[in-house]
């Protein structure tokens, strides 16, 4: 099968969605001739023209509202927010409007829109360009939250998100953009709300999201050499969360490590740990549920501090060893 970078996979999903459905259009800051801050929309302006690949002024609240209004009246907008941090400027539109319109209006409207945004640290962009805020959105009924960790997932989940009739926050990770993987050419959506076992194993369950998935897989490989069989699961969709798959694995292995980049307190790992702790799997746990999340700091600029602020492969290996020893 063809190998694409994660960025190319996102672009291919956008291209196919634009080609398939004339209601789909893109809007965002510098997505046209510039190709987006990370080059994801490169070339789409030429292919689809400025009406459907629409550059906007720097007005995050209004462009989010613009997507909402277009969605409510029959379009299927795909909005890019240049860095996830800037979503803080659009919270009212996203959370009080997009997420609630359908419910408040008694089911008489729907808001089929996707908000794509690059998240995460590791690029030296410091505290205001490195946020991982997905847990906020996963707290909000009416939104869906998707966070692909591979090229194939990026494409398939984005296609599904665009076809979904609800507002979807689609979280791309900057460090994943250049990672490569096999991706089917056909526009095949991957259903939202379904976790994937990325590697099977019986000793310990590692639940990882986004950029932590490749790190967890690398850690699992190293641990396998020590005879520890790690099961790595990627929830892929954070809301709705496929708790069933996670709980089943926890029940099987009795040991759980949850790995995520966002600040540990109230990051997605809090919910995952709580779901397992309240489930039937509780009775099968052999050790406390370990969470490996980001440190309780804004992301610092200095490269070494930045790396120390979020879980790295070594930290995962270490955490798994600890939970095996418990």
């Amino acid at each position: 099968m063809r190998v694409l970078t994660y960025a190319e996979a996102v672009r291919e999903a956008l291209r196919q969605a634009l080609a398939d459905d004339e209601r789909v259009f893109l809007l965002g800051e510098d997505i046209g001739v510039y190709g987006g801050a990370f080059g994801v929309t490169e070339g789409l302006l030429t292919e689809f023209g400025p009406e459907r690949v629409r550059d906007t002024p720097i007005s995050e609240a209004a462009i989010t509202g613009c997507a909402i209004g277009a969605a409510v009246t029959g379009m299927r907008p795909v909005l890019e927010i240049q860095f996830m941090d800037f979503i803080t400027l659009a919270m009212e539109q996203l959370v009080l409007q997009a997420a609630k319109i359908r419910y408040m209006f008694g089911g008489t409207a729907r808001v089929p829109m996707v908000l794509r945004t690059p998240a995460g640290s590791g690029t030296g962009a410091a505290a205001q360009h490195s946020e991982s805020l997905e847990a906020w959105f996963a707290h909000v009924p009416g939104l869906k939250v998707v966070a692909p960790s591979s090229s194939a997932d990026a494409k398939g989940l984005l296609l599904a998100s665009i076809r979904d009739d609800n507002p979807v926050i689609f979280v791309e990770h900057k460090l994943l953009y250049r990672t490569r993987g096999e991706v089917p050419e056909a526009p095949v959506p991957i259903p939202l709300g379904v976790a994937e076992v990325k590697r099977a194993g019986d000793d310990v369950t590692v639940i990882a999201t986004s950029v932590m998935v490749p790190r967890a897989l690398a850690a699992a490989e190293r641990l396998a050499a020590d005879g520890v069989a790690v099961e790595v699961i990627d929830p892929r969709t954070l809301r709705p969360l496929d708790a069933e798959t996670l709980v089943a694995s926890a029940r099987k292995t009795g040991r759980v490590v949850v790995v995520y980049e966002a600040v540990k307190t109230l990051g997605i790992g809090a919910e995952i740990a709580a779901r397992i702790a309240e489930s039937e799997a509780f009775y099968h746990l052999r050790a406390p549920i370990v969470r490996l999340g980001g440190q309780e700091v804004p992301i610092p600029y200095n490269r070494r501090l930045e790396a120390a602020a979020v879980p790295q492969e070594d930290d995962i290996v270490e955490a798994v060893r600890q939970v095996m020893a418990a």
Partner: protein, 322 residues
């Protein structure tokens, strides 16, 4: 663009709708006083000419986005008072199945994309409605209502700019009723008129007497016509007044009775009625009959609403997702 003045039939229609709004609001007030309404509400008594003058300039398939003070807009856009009243009472058959209430009544089919509990919250959405119209090439127009207080929100600025640069078919209608809750407009901005801000976006702006439904209608017709013809957005300010407090918790310590009385003396309904009776278009008896009709329609709506079922708590989780 000069527009033709409304003909007599239209004027009588506007009077009828203003009376309906007034009757709805007075009934709402009464229900609240009786403790029969949960929550809060914001009455548009005194502002009827704005809702009616603007909506009379619209086609049935045009859109509006309304505000927390939205009962009038909703009725003026053609909503069924029965379904509105049912929503107001939180009933399953109300416009929003009782989930929305006063602050979120929407009549999506009728082109009312909803009241909004967030000041200026509808303005960004209006740009998207406008863009969708432009891309779908349907020739519709979107009206976004907002208050004077909303004009100080960032959303106002971003939305007007977006509509201007893309020449979207949106008419931004400011109901300047002199106050945002307790804040007088002159303390909240240093410009005389909200419409003075139109120049910052390179769009036309106008201020009209919002107590004169004919003036509102003419200005709205012109702005709507321009939007429909591809001429882009307009900022239309209608100077008006709310007779009652902001909401039920308001002791109105920020204004005097004299001021309220002075505005009441310019009542938009009395004014149109006087004009139509003076012109001989209506007799006093006919005018009284119109008012009675409006009251009857609201009484009917209330009876209907009262007879409707409450939502079943078992349905709580429905319609969160499509």
């Amino acid at each position: 663009m000069r527009v033709a003045s409304p003909d007599l039939e239209q004027l009588v229609g506007m009077l009828r709708t203003m009376l309906l709004i007034r009757a709805f609001e007075e009934k709402a007030d009464e229900l609240f006083a009786l403790g029969r309404i949960h929550g809060t509400m914001h009455l548009s008594l005194g502002q009827e000419a704005v809702a009616v003058g603007v909506c009379a300039a619209l086609r049935a398939d045009d859109y509006i986005l309304s505000t927390h003070r939205g009962h009038g807009h909703c009725l003026a856009k053609g909503a069924d008072p029965r379904l509105m009243m049912a929503e107001f009472l939180g009933k399953e058959t109300g416009y929003c199945r009782g989930r929305g209430g006063s602050m979120h009544i929407a009549d999506v089919r009728g082109g009312n994309l909803g009241a909004n509990g967030i000041v200026a919250g509808g303005l960004p959405i209006a740009t998207g409605v406008g863009l969708s119209i432009q891309m779908r090439r349907t020739g519709q127009v979107c009206v976004a209502f907002f208050g004077d207080g909303a004009a100080n929100e960032g959303a106002f600025h971003e939305a007007l700019n977006l509509a201007a640069i893309w020449m979207l078919p949106v008419v931004f209608v400011c109901e300047n009723n002199q106050y945002a809750m307790s804040m007088p407009v002159r303390r909240a901005m240093r410009v005389e008129r909200v419409s003075d801000r139109a120049t910052a976006y390179g769009m036309p702006g106008a201020t009209v007497d919002g107590m004169d439904v004919v003036a509102v209608h003419e200005a709205a017709t012109s702005a709507v016509g321009r939007a429909r013809a591809g001429g882009g957005p307009t900022l239309l300010e209608c100077v008006t007044y709310r007779y009652r407090g902001h909401s039920k918790s308001d002791r109105q310590r920020y204004r005097g009775r004299d001021e309220v009385e002075a505005w009441r003396a310019r009542d938009p309904i009395a004014r149109l009625r006087a004009r139509l009776t003076a012109d001989g278009a209506l007799t006093e008896a006919e005018a009284d009959a119109l008012a009675a009709e409006a009251s009857a329609a609201i009484e009917d709506a209330l009876r209907f609403a009262e007879a409707q079922p409450e939502p079943d708590p078992a349905t709580l989780l429905q319609d969160v997702y499509a």
